[in-house]
Symmetry: C2
Subunit: 384 residues, 2 copies
């Protein structure tokens, strides 16, 4: 298998947009190609993540649409939908295509547009990522899923609402320095604690927002990367899943799919958790970040909440998590999220993250979770 | 790259079902695994095609759901949506995974369930595979798209409605011998010609039906295949696309995506059209079969209609096309169609197709088209 590098990244402003997903992706892709110093005509395949486009935009078959908008009508395109992990899944398959020698230059990314439909509708559409026969009829939506995770973690480890709130405060503090973030403002612990309960014990400020946006990455073979100014190498990309139904999971305080994907990724790269300098992970809710830091082996099971509270995951801390502001402050355009996380890590490893730069970062990790903790992707990146 | 073989196939009865897509897939997958002589625990990854599950079943994130129903909660899963070419696209990526040495045993397939919703709704959902900004608002649905293709072919080559009807008659005649087919009955040319116009010049019997069903394939590496009784080798799998908008295409009488994918597949396999013994292709409408036989190089552009009329594509003819009955008689559960076509070619190359067997078939081809002719997959298969 050949080495694969990311040599171009592009991300739209996250927030509300009056453009289609395909148009948002086109903006991100144009930026990624310019960043890579390659013309669109160099692209040999497109992998595209999008989740609720059928529901919010009446648009399926988004692969050739995204390619057409870029003026690339002939290349193979694949739309991937793996809930919130869609564009990270797309990334893993694109890595496989380049590593296998099928293509030398592949464009990967995703986009989502949801803010033009009522929030109640978006919430319902997102819930389609849980089981339609057994879970949706009970009224289970994602705040409810992660409230159950939070309750399990609190019961097992004594995790507190204040500790979860610390994650939100930290990610908003980071997001201030990200011009693409949906929310570029700090919040206080008191604001989080006084915000309304959405699904007890999760309050409004424990939840990431709905977001429109697009993100794109240019992946290339080693030979092409060697002609690039600043390649960031893909050291590993691994996927794992878990039972679809919450009721089939043994212990909601853990996410086995994260533990499986992380173990596979560390094995591929020959690295340990302690080797990682910077992490972008899936903080769809504050408790999700805490459980992810444990599943990734950054902290022992049960130690993630205290670590967050003590600032160990802040910029300047032991292992900075979500310097971009994370899903919480940067926003969560679901089909774009995995690619946007990778774009942040590439930016960090290039040393180009400005006020949110993790000093001397050489190894980065991204983690994206889909649905009821049923899909997880973990990738590792390094610089020369 | 390693050689890849299909060693197991499974297809549900096509027609109306009162089970979910995931359950339909589970039946097909269990049959495919039994056919392969492998336990479910041997499967290392799942690629799953589904198109309108969000719309008709309120179900997204179908990868881990399909894996859970099979009792395989931990493996990587990927849902692919490329309109009607979804499970053929899934197949191509699964081939890449095995060829690259990432996995030795991969399960691929798809399912769709649409007959429990009103036909007008299904028609609308299918139309989401065309452009939501420019085409859907005009009321363009797929019968309309292929009526435009038919008109262009008639204007350029003098193709007649009777010649198109001959395709329907032939595919129904073939379908009689397929116990999994939705329609196992012959129709006459007169019946087709007297059926109601759906979108002039296409009549009801020029159109394939809406269908529920699932299909699955077990793909393995050469090493695993050598322990199998009757491997069918993947000689090539290629994808291509075209402009998303009909208005951007230069000549509706041809499908450039078919021509591109076919050229790439023949090149990969080192074969010519004349080397192919049996074909399963995408006859969503009768004109689509005629245009596909030309795009695949089986006949010169403009010669496909006359060839169909003369019986050259019938069982016993020069190059048998759609011995399964095709989408027209077998049915078209969109997410399952590509995998079901491959299952038929595998069955043919094994010499196990019974009354619809193409005698002495050694090389087979499958062709699947998605949306407004914007995505096409072509794969080639051979036996030892």
């Amino acid at each position: 298998m050949r080495r694969v590098a990311v040599i171009g990244v592009g991300v739209t402003k996250f927030g509300r947009h009056d453009r289609t997903s395909a148009e948002l992706f086109a903006e991100a892709a144009a930026d990624a190609l310019a960043d890579a110093g390659l013309p669109a005509s160099a692209v040999q395949a497109l992998y595209y993540g999008n989740v609720v486009g059928g529901e919010t935009e009446k648009q399926l078959h988004t692969g050739p649409q995204a390619a057409s908008v870029l003026g690339l009508p002939a290349i193979p395109t694949t739309r991937v939908e793996n809930a919130c992990a869609s564009s990270h899944t797309a990334f893993r398959h694109a890595v496989m295509e380049v590593a296998a020698g099928v293509s030398d230059v592949v464009l990967v990314g995703g986009a989502e547009r949801v803010l033009h439909v009522p929030t109640a509708d978006s919430t319902e559409y997102f819930a389609y990522c849980s089981d339609a026969s057994w879970e949706q009829p009970l009224g289970l939506t994602f705040p409810g899923v992660f409230a159950l995770v939070a309750r399990a973690h609190m019961a097992k480890y004594g995790t507190t609402e204040e500790q979860m709130a610390a994650v939100a405060v930290k990610n908003h503090r980071h997001g201030v320095h990200n011009p693409k973030a949906q929310f570029q403002k700090e919040i206080t612990l008191e604001q989080v604690m006084k915000s309304a309960y959405v699904a007890d014990p999760l309050k409004l400020y424990d939840c990431c927002p709905f977001t429109d946006g697009g993100a794109a990455l240019v992946l290339v073979s080693e030979e092409v990367a060697r002609r690039s100014r600043r390649p960031v190498w893909v050291l590993a990309s691994a996927a794992a899943s878990d039972w679809m139904l919450l009721g089939d999971k043994r212990d909601l305080s853990r996410v086995p799919a994260t533990e499986r994907a992380a173990a596979a990724a560390y094995r591929q790269a020959g690295l340990r958790p302690a080797d990682v300098d910077v992490v972008e992970l899936h903080d769809c809710f504050t408790i999700a970040e805490i459980v992810a830091t444990e599943g990734l082996g950054l902290f022992e099971p049960g130690a993630g909440a205290r670590a967050a509270e003590k600032g160990e995951t802040s910029l300047g801390g032991k292992i900075p998590v979500n310097p971009s502001g994370g899903l919480k402050a940067k926003g969560h355009p679901i089909g774009a999220t995995g690619a946007a996380q990778i774009a942040e890590i590439v930016t960090q490893l290039r040393g180009e993250a400005g006020a949110r730069q993790v000093g001397g970062a050489r190894t980065g990790l991204t983690h994206t979770l889909g649905g009821n903790t049923a899909t997880v992707l973990v990738s590792l990146f390094g610089r020369d």
